[in-house]
Symmetry: none
Subunit: 255 residues, 2 copies
């Protein structure tokens, strides 16, 4: 069980109060989680964090601080975001139990990341777009002020229960391994450039185009072979934009 | 659901730190519980309790303070005790999920009480003997310092999930309806033609290319808007193959 939980990282983004980082470390450790990642915390290390960690200070010492979410997602195969708000461009949602089961099931294949946003404002739309699923913790609609440490506590509890009950789990019969977050970013960069080259994307009016494409390909979760094909298609499209390109005659003009 | 949760009372016995009472109130309210009972708290009401309740002060105002556990259990039909330690005279044990389901099931018949003992020493043997079951919250055996508010948070979460009667749900985002098979076929026809136009697909050696792309996009299950975008991208790629197409200068040559 420890191995599974050790492959699930909790990522806190731009945490304002260092005390919350300490409380989160405690909430994690009490359920056997160990991987705490921090993206640009306002202040860390900090005395308040250590005070509230109350014995979980080893997690604080081992916490990895990143300058960007990209770095924190390096090598990660499944990304879940926590969000209290409804979004215009929403992702598939899981409740916390389903999310915990999925995370534990996939943790033997690749690192899993669960993102928690700022205390007041949660995750940005850009950050949400890095996720495969949104995770929803049920709460009283008239008083849904679950704080950061409480949310991590409930999630960590469900992760522990899922890891303990692993025998009963139905594993997805995937004959493929999705690529990691870095590969996806390279693909999206390549895709965007190609859309500029073919003039489908108007840089003066990008609208929601890339956000919509991100959501679509996040649902597909391509593996390495598929990413190679997709990028091959993009490269061929880019080459076709070059003045010297001669369109094959037999197939030309067909839509 | 509210009715069920309103018939389940959380009883804190001899709580030492008033701040913990406030944190417990918050943990309860965020999951929709409302019945807080206190047996001989060291200090209550107290400013620390109100401060940590953070908006759940209505639960503190309504909290019932008792001189004895007997009074707090008046009329209660099911009593559950929480305990971290093993007891010589042990009761039947339930994990927190089973306990929550049992509590919600019985809450329509009679009030249910869940007892939490002192911060350091838990429940006494006398208090344990008032319980029908002991409730066990799974925790890291090497660091099982779940504090009072965290324990109440996990339990309250399970009570809410049990009352909702649904867990393990995965919801597609609401604004999303996958297109039908006919639309998918038109997309694949268009895709194949474009790959011929851009010379990515060699008609003499098609291999498994279209089959692999079909599997990928079947996983993604695009909706109408996404199909429109994808076909727009294809049309732009086809146009870029035409001899008269002039590649935008600013973005050209980038990969």
């Amino acid at each position: 069980m420890a191995e599974q939980l050790n492959n699930i990282r909790i990522i806190l983004i731009n945490t304002t109060h260092p005390g919350n980082i300490g409380s989160v470390a405690r909430a994690m450790k009490v359920m056997g989680l160990s991987q705490l990642h921090l993206v640009s915390p306002l202040r860390f290390p900090a005395a308040e964090a250590t005070a509230l960690a109350s014995g979980a200070d080893d997690l604080l010492q081992d916490a990895v601080v990143h300058e960007s979410l990209d770095k924190a997602l390096d090598g990660v195969g499944l990304v879940l975001g926590t969000s209290a708000r409804l979004r215009t461009l929403s992702l598939p949602q899981m409740d916390v139990r389903a999310a915990a089961e999925q995370s534990v099931a996939e943790s033997s294949k690749h690192p899993v990341a669960i993102l928690f946003g700022r205390e007041r404002h949660g995750l940005t739309n850009d950050e949400i777009q890095r996720c495969h699923f949104l995770l929803n913790i049920p709460a009283n609609p008239e008083y849904s002020s679950l704080n950061l440490a409480q949310a991590v506590q409930v999630l960590s509890y469900e992760l522990r229960v899922a890891a303990l009950g692993e025998a009963g789990l139905i594993q997805e019969s995937l004959d493929y391994t999705p690529v990691d977050a870095g590969q996806m970013e390279m693909f999206f960069t390549h895709l965007e450039q190609t859309l500029l080259d073919t003039r489908f994307l108007n840089p003066a009016q990008p609208k929601m185009l890339m956000a919509r494409l991100r959501r679509l390909y996040a649902r597909a979760r391509p593996d390495q072979n598929e990413i190679n094909i997709l990028r091959g298609i993009l490269a061929a499209s880019q080459k076709a934009c070059d003045p010297g390109f001669i369109k094959p005659v037999a197939e030309a003009g067909d839509d």
